[in-house]
Amino acid sequence: MTRPVRELDPEGDTFPKLVRVNAERIPRKVAIREKDYGIWQSYTWAEYLEQARLIALGLASLGFDRGDKTAVIGDNRPQLYWAMLATQALGGVPVPLYQDSIEKEMQYILDHAEARFAIVEDQEQVDKLLNLKAQCPRLEYIIYDDPRGLRSYAEPFLLSLERLQELGKKFAQDNPTYFEDQVAKGRADDLAIICYTSGTTGSPKGVMLSHRNLILTARNAATREGLRSDEEVLAYLPMAWVGDHIFSFSQSILLGFAANCPESAATVRHDLKEVGPTYFFAVPAIWESLLTTVMIRIEDAAWLKRAMVHFFLRLAQQIERERLNRRPVPLWPRLLYPLGRLLVYGPLKDNLGVRRIRRAYTAGEAIGPEIFVFFRSLGINFKQVYGMTESSALISIQRDGDVRLDTVGTPIPGVEIRISENGEVLFRSPGVFQGYYKNPEATRETLEEGWVHTGDAGFIDHDGHLRIIDRAKDVSRLGDGTVFAPKYIENKLKFSPYIKEAVCVGQDRPYVTAMLNIDLAAVGNWAERRNIPYTSYTDLSQKPEVHDLVGQEVVRVNRSLSEEELLRGAQIRKYLILHKELDPDDQEITRSRKVRRRFIAEKYAPLIEALYSDADHVAVEAKVTYEDGRTGTVRADVKILEAELEGAVGVG
């Protein structure tokens, strides 16, 4: 058990002090790189400090006071990371904003954070800020890095970063020790950053994190994960997101490893290959797109190569599944695996740019088991983490060698987790935020005697792993009081390649039922290979063979639910396959493919009633909207299907 660090060395209790230490100890080691003009340009720790120093002095010459806020907006650029450090060095607080925010959101945050200075990447951001300037009276200076297209702008409060640094040089002549004095004044409990989180409801909230919060969390996670000073990370996630701040700023400074800024958002995949990071984080959507690229390329290959790749990928996935299920791996596949590594896994990883990865992570939402197993089976140490801005990004991580499909691991050192009476996950740690900026009411709601309410429903399973079920407000109960987490079950269903959408019903009902959409492409393909003729989605959805196929998937979900005590009672008893696909044009799902539960409950009320009656089929008519806006009617006879329940279910 690693012991958590709780106290900080006063020589390194803020990020500016830590960078100063790096600049003394490892001045020539690369701190940050940026691909610019087609070449990776490197900056050492000595340069990192010097650049930030000049920015800080420039800001000081414009009258920067301790406690002032600097808005930082743009793609990941060394200059913007320096701007954050410079702000911290002067006792100020950087406030990074999402670079693609619309003006209204920016205005809210700039105004709420009372930013006096804004340091931005280019003309795009400058133009937005110029439009907002009138409504943000506190914003005094706008500083930009890339001068392109800005030469004819004459606003007196607008200046280039280069010019700012020149002002800094002049300022230093009259105040030679100013920078060092200001850095020395910094304390561990000063604010290091305010990250605004886009709440699903209401206005964004400014999460205040201190140097102590970030340093301790970054250090405890680094110790647990065994990070070293020779890591390489790709700094490609939005700077406004606390995760990027931890990986590309906090941990990079703390351990002295290099952050690599891609050339542009469009070149990330290519840059990933060139950098070959050792420590890499991506959200499930990115992993999924990596997998898709691989699969498409394989299908383009010659048949022999394709057959070989498929053979070895299947082999690796079979081994990985056994491992994840804690079952022994048979000898034969184990003997073949090294050959696969030589022929397939190695070259494949190299091609994706993930060959050097020692630790890869995913978080944010549930990741499909195929994707998770695929990357693990290649020999990538791919793990799930859980965290939020209010925890300085990290709460729990799966340990090396103790990885599961559907958990988010065990708490990192220093973090305590507790499940409240109503099933909500609470945590306490050195990373617990200092409150929401200028929003004591929200702070009181979230932060109670040091414990933070995550808003997520979850439980600690029999192995001590934390499992997240759903957002707490979306979890309800069956009629008999059994916990019912619709999204958790729906996600499990949707992990099947044959099921595209799923809507679970069960609140205040005697048992759980599900309405499913089959994946027309996957099931259609499956049917063709078996010579099952069909004419349309509606026709295919009511074929007995398809019912059997989907039935197996439902049973699989029930089996997995039965493994967890808390959820055992909420297995799917009856289900049906909807006669039409849920469609945003019919307002059944949103454009981002989120199910609109209430609308569906009303629209499909007769179907839901049938699921809770003795009927074995129900005739329906549905109005559909075609792409050209015309509407038509689909008639079908939908069969009500029963699923086998697994294990002992206590419902009579």
Binding site: G38, G149, A266
Partner: protein, 260 residues
């Protein structure tokens, strides 16, 4: 740039004929240094022919073309390019099998000197020269935001991007005068907006004088300092966009004349 502050390019009473067809009929036109001039007109008005005459693809039947104060009427296309006039084409003319980077590098060819042997060995001055040109080309790639397609074969790119690569190749020649033949044809609104921004940026960052042929009147009114209108080979109007927009001859040419 041009001597005694005169126009950068002067087209003086130029006619171009193909057999009996007079494509351009005694057109006179001046392009001032640093301006963006739009040449508009209905289909077949002679816009592209005029551009071709300026860039040396056709030679005028009568009239003179004066660039930077000197008569350039009889130059060949490569000589015109060496003078600092670069162009893009109405139908994209890239090397489709070559990647974007190499396509843009061809725009530097006129600036490269060297011996066949040294180039083949990629040694000494040849290597230094290649690196210098590559560095310049990278600036243009950065400027036009095409980093992501640097190594993609030009023929595989969508049309809008091919147009952008063509602009990049023209810029690689560091032109004094840039001739753009329908730089926005076939583009969607977003691509057009991007292209407008690039044209304006080229003009303000490098001080390049630009003459462009364009059909989209919104674009023309937005970005050009001056508009010249051709109809049936003749120039029928020339002036600031607001003035040309109201010109009766232009309205007639575009909307047709009512017959009593």
């Amino acid at each position: 740039m041009s001597e005694n502050g005169g126009p950068l390019l002067k087209v003086d009473g130029v006619s171009v004929r193909f057999g009996a067809l007079v494509a351009v009929n005694r057109v006179s036109l001046e392009i001032q240094p640093g301006e963006i001039l739009a040449i508009i007109g209905p289909n077949g008005a002679g816009k592209t022919t005029l551009l071709n005459a300026v860039s040396g693809f056709y030679h005028p039947y009568e009239g003179r073309i004066i660039f930077q104060g000197q008569d350039r009427t009889w130059l060949k296309p490569d000589q015109v390019a060496a003078l600092g006039i670069a162009r893009t084409f109405q139908n994209v003319a890239l090397f489709k099998g070559m990647n974007v980077l190499d396509n843009i590098m061809t725009g530097r060819l006129l600036k490269m000197k060297g011996s066949f042997v040294l180039d083949a060995l990629y040694w000494g001055p040849a290597k230094r020269q290649e690196l210098e040109h590559r560095a310049f080309v990278e600036r243009i790639i950065d400027f036009l935001e095409i980093q992501a397609i640097r190594k993609t074969a030009a023929g595989r790119l969508p049309y809008g991007l091919q147009k952008r690569v063509e602009l990049a190749r023209a810029l690689a020649a560091e032109p004094t005068l840039l001739l753009l033949d329908e730089p926005m044809a076939g583009m969607n609104v977003e691509e057009k907006e991007d292209m407008c921004r690039f044209i304006l940026d080229v003009n303000s960052e490098f001080g390049t004088t630009i003459a462009l042929i364009e059909h989209d009147m919104g674009v023309v009114m937005d970005i050009s300092d001056r508009v010249a209108v051709l109809d049936y080979g003749r120039k029928i109007a020339d002036g600031p966009p607001e003035q040309v927009r109201k010109d009766q001859a232009v309205l007639d040419a575009y909307l047709g004349v009512g017959h009593e």
